[in-house]
């Protein structure tokens, strides 16, 4: 009996000792470096909405991994202004009426302080008026339609990445720099707003930059169609110099798989506006010499060079270590959203000298300039961010086991985004060389 008691006491003692040691060891890490501003809440609750089902989940999984990595990083450093972030994650699939319902629940039931997310144009257009109605600070991270910021004046909604027209302008400029004598172009796009907008802007930009360019084919496929045999045949018959495509995710991979063996990439210069996103997935199936863009995002996991940019190095290595995948453009755009939100809060705290109201955060956000792995981003008065974009052409990298972007060209934000107050479509029609 005594022995038992004794042994138990011994165990307790040793546990206590271990506990003390661990606490001491952890202590430096848990002390918050920042002093909490007065009036600060116990936690900052932020919703993150992205696709976790349907084909668009390929974007959502990058968004989610970046969010997890970044929020952990911020919270290790004390959170935002000394307040830790609590994350509420929701699926973006299910249509706008579900998203509007969810948005209201996030704002009114979960009482989140801000919401980050929205990849689909339909969803971001649907929730914007709700955000305004409920006065909920919302940071749109990927959705690309120019209508978001041009249809109505936004107060509570910000977009931390450039819009879809930039993608097409970057592509057009790059094509002409590689192949100045291009005569014919053709488009293979999905038959919905994103595909239509992408092709229209590209076509207009091309015709503006090189007026004698002829369109020899426009293909409109079903969204994420699994069979492109006829489309590929038609492109093989038409033999255009350049083929533009805004296919994405699984549809893009399928197209590359089916077109590659049939020699489409040998015949024409093909460009994919979202191509960078699938490079790690398609591995060796992507031939060399295909123009791929991370849309018009300002970073790529090899550019800026991680060796030269600490932010980039930390992100690329951290992400790869944790998720086994290098950050792709949805990851960078998610990064832009979170870091922008954080920067806005911190600026507002500094300005107010206490915990800021949502209105004060908004004020701080407007005109804000902040650093990201993809470079410096500026938030304009119309709540549209401006940043540079890069583009390149594929080249197999045996080191990585997949094709990487080669001959990367970087465009400044002003070259690829309409200036404040100009309608995107008018601007694309008037771009200069």
């Amino acid at each position: 009996m005594r022995r038992v008691l004794k042994s138990r006491r011994g165990a307790w003692l040793s546990l206590l000792a271990i506990g003390v040691v661990v606490l001491v060891a952890l202590a430096p890490a848990t002390v918050t470096p920042q002093a909490r501003p007065s009036g600060a809440p116990a936690e900052l609750k932020i919703g993150f909405v992205d696709f976790f089902s349907t084909a668009a989940a390929t974007f959502g999984s990058s968004g989610k991994s970046t969010t997890e990595w970044l929020v952990d990083k911020y919270n290790r450093g004390g959170g935002i202004g000394g307040v830790k972030i609590k994350l509420v994650v929701l699926d973006e699939a299910g249509g706008p009426d579900k998203q509007v319902t969810e948005f209201r629940r996030l704002a009114l039931d979960e009482k989140v302080d801000a919401i980050v997310g929205y990849t689909s144009s339909a969803n971001c257009l649907a929730i914007a008026p709700v955000a305004e109605e409920l006065k909920t600070l919302t940071v749109v991270h990927i959705c690309g339609t120019h209508r978001l910021t041009e249809d109505r004046k936004l107060k509570y909604v910000f977009r931390t990445s450039n819009n879809q027209a930039s993608d097409s302008v970057v592509l057009a400029r790059y094509v002409l720099s590689l192949k100045p004598d291009v005569k014919t172009i053709a488009g293979a796009n999905e038959d919905y707003a994103w595909g239509r907008d992408s092709w229209e802007a590209f076509k207009v930009a091309m015709q503006r930059l090189k007026p004698d360019v002829k369109v020899t084919g426009e293909l409109w496929t079903k969204i994420q169609a699994g069979e492109y045999s006829a489309e590929i045949s038609k492109l093989l018959v038409a033999k255009p110099d350049v083929i533009h495509s805004s296919f994405w995710g699984g549809g893009l991979i399928t197209f590359v798989k089916q077109a590659g063996p049939r020699g489409l990439f040998k015949q024409s210069l093909v460009l994919f506006s979202t191509g960078e996103q699938v490079l790690q997935d398609v591995k060796t199936s992507m031939p060399d010499g295909v123009i791929v863009a991370p849309r018009a995002t300002g970073a790529y996991f090899l550019d800026p060079d991680p060796a030269a940019s600490p932010l980039q190095k930390e992100f690329v290595e951290g992400h790869h270590q944790r998720f086994g995948r290098y950050p792709d453009y949805p990851a960078y755009r998610t990064y832009q959203a979170w870091s922008g939100l954080k920067a806005a809060y911190e600026k507002a705290i500094k300005q107010a000298g206490r915990w800021p109201t949502t209105e004060e955060v908004i004020k701080a956000f407007e005109g804000l300039t902040w650093q990201t792995p993809s470079g410096t981003i500026t938030m304009r008065a119309d709540h549209q961010a401006v940043h540079g974009g890069l583009i390149g052409i594929t080249k197999m990298s045996p080191k990585h086991g997949f094709a990487v972007m080669d001959r990367v060209v970087r465009h400044r934000g002003e070259e690829i985004m309409p200036p404040l107050g100009t309608k995107t479509l008018d601007w694309v029609g008037g771009i200069k060389k």
């Binding site: 089902s53 929701l90 249509g95 706008p96 969810e102 209201r104 009114l108 649907a126 008026p129």
Partner: protein, 321 residues
């Protein structure tokens, strides 16, 4: 018996619904508003379920109503609920009157499939006519006015709620009368025996057609209210999965009564919301499991659960007396 029981419960139910804005938090009020809107489309589907016919395409009329709101705002600056409600119902009925000419001849799987095809044609057209419909990006609804009156922003949701509730009340009354009429009974009877109807000198096709037009108007009404409530209209309103949801909800609530679909609609919106709250990655599966459970264990839907409870409760009261 039933007639004696119903009014009291109807009053209690109505009183509960009237009290919603005062009792429930604002986000739940929104959910109930949306549920009331969708209820009308569900009721349209439930009419056919009574006749043993499934439609995987009634989202088509729901979309027609919703796009009436979208186009009204985009082209004509129309945003008055009192004007758009009858318009939406009218468009819904008109499209149904046209499609119904073909559809009244079909039953069972063919009825389901052909409805699906028509709704997917509309879906395709809404995607295609990008310059008109905004494609998948969709259209914004105007901020609604009510008979020319624009309520202050903080009361807008209450106005929408009570409008939906009022319309739902009228719809319940109208459908109740329809179902109690000869044609309503013929509708139920045709699920069992069309031959006898034809040998009574009545036309089953006519029964189908009238019901189809009515269902188009109902779903159109629902679409108008949903358009205003959600504020954004996209082609998905016409997608077959949306139609499938309507059928699911009708079954969830029970299509044997007029109130069942209402219970189903409200329950569905809450289930869907909580499913995506607690299972953000598996909410579809959660819906599927609930649906399976209903089909296998409670084929009459929520309504029969309620009826069972009411019967038990009623018996106890009798025993006490």
């Amino acid at each position: 018996m039933e007639t004696r029981r119903l009014p009291v419960e109807a009053l209690v139910g109505a009183a509960l619904l009237v009290a919603v804005p005062f009792v429930l938090p604002a986000w739940m009020k929104f959910i109930v508003t949306l549920a009331l809107a969708k209820f009308m489309a569900v009721l349209a589907v439930a009419l056919f379920l009574r006749a043993n016919q499934v439609t995987f395409g009634h989202a088509m009329f729901y979309a027609v109503g919703a796009y009436a709101v979208g186009f009204g705002a985009k082209w004509f600056g129309l945003r008055d609920v009192a004007l758009l409600l009858p318009l939406g119902a009218l468009f819904g009925a008109a499209v149904a009157a046209l499609v119904g000419l073909v559809m009244a001849r079909y039953r069972e799987v063919f009825f389901a499939m052909l409805n699906l095809a028509f709704s997917m044609m509309l879906y395709g057209a809404l995607l295609k006519l990008y310059w008109v419909t905004g494609g998948t990006d969709g259209l914004s609804a105007g901020v609604p006015t009510f008979l020319g009156y624009a309520p202050p922003r903080e009361y807008l949701r209450d106005f929408l709620y009570y409008t939906s509730l009022g319309v739902a009340g009228l719809v319940i009354y109208a459908v109740y009368r329809f179902l109690a009429s000869p044609l309503g009974y013929y509708l139920k009877a045709m699920g069992e025996n069309e031959i006898r109807i034809e040998y009574s000198g009545e036309s089953v096709r006519h029964v189908m057609y009238v019901t189809y037009v009515l269902s188009g108007a109902l779903a159109g009404l629902g679409g108008v209210l949903a358009g205003f409530t959600v504020g954004h209209i996209v082609p998905e309103y016409s997608f077959w999965i949306q139609s499938g949801d309507f059928v699911f909800v009708a079954l969830l609530g029970g299509y044997g009564s007029v109130v069942g679909p209402l219970m189903g609609s409200i329950a569905f919106e809450f289930i869907r919301t909580y499913a995506s709250k607690y299972f953000p990655n598996e909410w579809q599966m959660t819906l599927g499991i609930i649906m399976l459970a209903i089909i296998l264990f409670r084929p009459g839907g929520l309504w029969t659960i309620y009826e069972g409870l009411a019967a038990r409760f009623g018996r106890r009261e009798v025993e006490r007396a």
